[in-house]
Symmetry: C2
Subunit: 413 residues, 2 copies
């Protein structure tokens, strides 16, 4: 407020106002699921005539469709039902992780329409090779989307590392340093589809994308606008959502909870430091502690879950120990940020039944406000819908919703 | 952006627009230090006539004063110089800490006009007694302010505890639980000044107030809009400023970095948990480790500084050890939050020369982006102007700047 030096009623030019209002109407239809022109007008505070003109434009852009009449419209007259289009523009998300690549196409309504996952070990593989593999998967997804009359408006690539300005600064578990991921991926995709217009490529950290998926699509965050998201994979990723916005930090590197120090003299972490949380509660540490091959990947996690379910003592104690460490580190983060909820994703979601009691116990003990236990169920499993590929696809969808004109102009160009 | 469902050009009513624009003009004058009507008009994007009318009102409110003519005005004509008033409304800040109470009156320009500090041991003393003592000090400050033709527009009380909704939920080092601090303080002040209009009382956590003082008045944060603030007192307080805004958290309890776990099995902390940072790097731990009486307060800290300056090995190793622990905890916070800078206040400021190398070393080692050492001097001593009493007074000043009409109406009422 103090820094807002704009007088009220700025004289924005007409094109800017129209562009803004097109997004306003589109988002109103999107958020309502279905709506009439009259309903939208009431909701957004514009005249019926203005809304009708905006809706015509959105129909032309192909981002809104008409779906017959309502049975009982406002003011006695039935209205035409509007929904966001189930065909046309979509988001394409690509998640490159340590032991898999996932690709997802999401339509404007937020529905998952294509999903492909390939289990591969990306450790020590050349970045260009990994990105070529991801591009192949993406090209297949674009094909499947076309069969459903969907056309990605862009690709968003999520990776487990520090991502900024189109570049992976470092991704310790992949072994990447300074990789121009957007350029290389665009190149690889273009090589596979030489006759197609190049798709805009953007990128982000994988935990950020997963946290946004949780915010946009997850059931666990219903009504929750500020939460800490923790995802257990080979690395331990994190993200903070504050008032419905992802906290990015001064350099875009916020959320790296996996490198919180558990023991300054502890085992060396891939990041170069010693005793990071990842070395105590990452997937490899969990599997090793339970006597399962640390490199067994998804099979190993399934085996750990099976053993925990059967009450195997070494599996239970491995999970409990990781839970304790997670709880200690999370208590520090909760004391610092005071979020409404903590969401656990990745392998932690699968192990929630055995992990949560230990995590919760440390939080109840160590969160200073004493509010942790008072305040209802604040430790939650992330939604299975809240994965990074879906969040990445969602980021493209949000772009179209935020400025449908930019999408239409690019599509026409 | 996605959640902004307001169409552009809202038809705000005239009174609201005028109220908003009065603040706009007042803040423009405040931020510039001095300005002409023409200069303000250019800066805020309103017409010269509109600004003149707004300035008349601000002169009437007594929040702006005229200071003669500029030698060379815009458009060839000399303009009248405007400044915020050096008399009239002011902010009154009260800091209640463990071993002292400080009171401060700040004028609209942000200048410290009255400052009183009383060294008292508040541990184990009844809250009503402590608040009565603080009210006596505040009443004296109000008297000194009146001698300078300043009248506090409100009182803001800062305390080392979890403060929300006018109540201290808990302040472990004071031994307070559920104290209605605003009501009790207002009562105590009214008892001392029965013939005066009651002042509005507000309250906040002490580290929050200090961090805001740093943001508003400190030199160390010049150009820095996102920082982590850590203050060493008997407790260790913290606050996060993000893009020029204090992060309050879901319940108002964000920033409690003093209760980050250093060792889960460590000594019991006053908060009830074990092994909190406060037990390793708080004032008492520092003094004890250096062989100085833990209860010696400010005298003890001065003695520790003197010994460190003389190269006393046990003083140096005590400070170095605390610095290491601070660095380990801060690296976790920096990894999570990715701030531009970390500011150390309280006793850490005094000990900066001997503390900073150890803190910096751990940060360079453990901040994952590798950006810590690359990115210039990110660990800084808080400004001596950045104390909690000043920040508390500043909060009142900001309120007047944000809505001078509310102040004038209350003053007239």
């Amino acid at each position: 407020m103090m820094n807002n030096l704009t007088p009220l009623e700025p004289k924005a030019d007409k094109a800017t106002v129209r562009r803004h209002n097109l997004s306003l109407v589109l988002r109103a239809v999107h958020d309502a699921g279905e709506a009439t022109r009259a309903g939208v007008a009431t909701h957004v505070g514009l005249t019926r005539a203005a809304v009708s003109s905006l809706v015509e434009q959105l129909l032309e852009y192909g981002v809104v469709s008409e779906w017959g009449k309502t049975s009982s419209g406002q003011a006695g007259r039935p209205g035409t039902v509007l929904k966001v289009s189930r065909s046309g523009p979509a988001g394409l998300g690509v998640e490159i992780n340590i032991d898999y690549i996932a690709v997802c196409v999401v339509d404007l309504a937020g529905t998952d329409r294509v999903r492909l996952v390939e289990h591969v070990d990306n450790r020590g593989v050349e970045p260009s090779e990994v990105l070529a593999c991801a591009a192949r998967l993406a090209a297949r997804a674009i094909g499947s989307a076309a069969d459903q009359e969907l056309e990605p408006a862009g690709v968003h690539v999520a990776l487990p590392g520090l991502v900024t300005g189109g570049t992976v600064r470092q991704a310790p578990n992949l072994g990447w340093r300074r990789v121009a991921v957007e350029g290389l991926f665009a190149q690889a995709l273009l090589a596979l589809r030489p006759d197609h217009r190049p798709l805009p490529v953007s990128s982000d950290n994988e935990a950020n994308a997963a946290a946004l998926a949780e915010l946009w699509f997850g059931a666990g965050t219903e009504g929750v606008r500020s939460f800490l998201y923790l995802t257990g994979e080979i690395g331990v990723g994190g993200a903070l959502v504050l008032g419905g916005e992802l906290l990015r930090g001064a350099h875009g590197f916020a959320g790296e909870i996996g490198h919180t120090v558990v023991d300054p003299e502890g085992p060396r972490c891939r990041c170069g430091a010693h005793g990071c949380l990842e070395q105590y509660a990452g997937q490899a540490a969990l599997l090793t502690a339970a006597g399962i091959d640390a490199d067994a990947g998804a099979r190993g996690v399934a085996e750990l879950e099976r053993r925990a379910r059967q009450g195997d003592p070494s599996a239970l104690s491995a999970v409990e120990r990781a839970g304790r460490q997670l709880g200690v580190v999370l208590s520090g983060a909760v004391n610092l940020f005071d979020p409404e909820a903590v969401m656990l994703g990745g392998v932690y979601r699968e192990l929630m039944d055995w992990l949560a009691p230990a995590v919760d116990r440390e939080l109840a003990r160590r969160v200073v406000s004493g509010l942790w236990s008072e305040d209802g169920k604040r430790l939650r499993a992330a939604s299975p819908l809240g994965d990074a590929a879906r969040g990445a696809a969602g980021a493209i969808v949000r772009e179209v919703l935020a400025d449908p004109t930019a999408y239409a102009e690019r599509d026409a160009g």
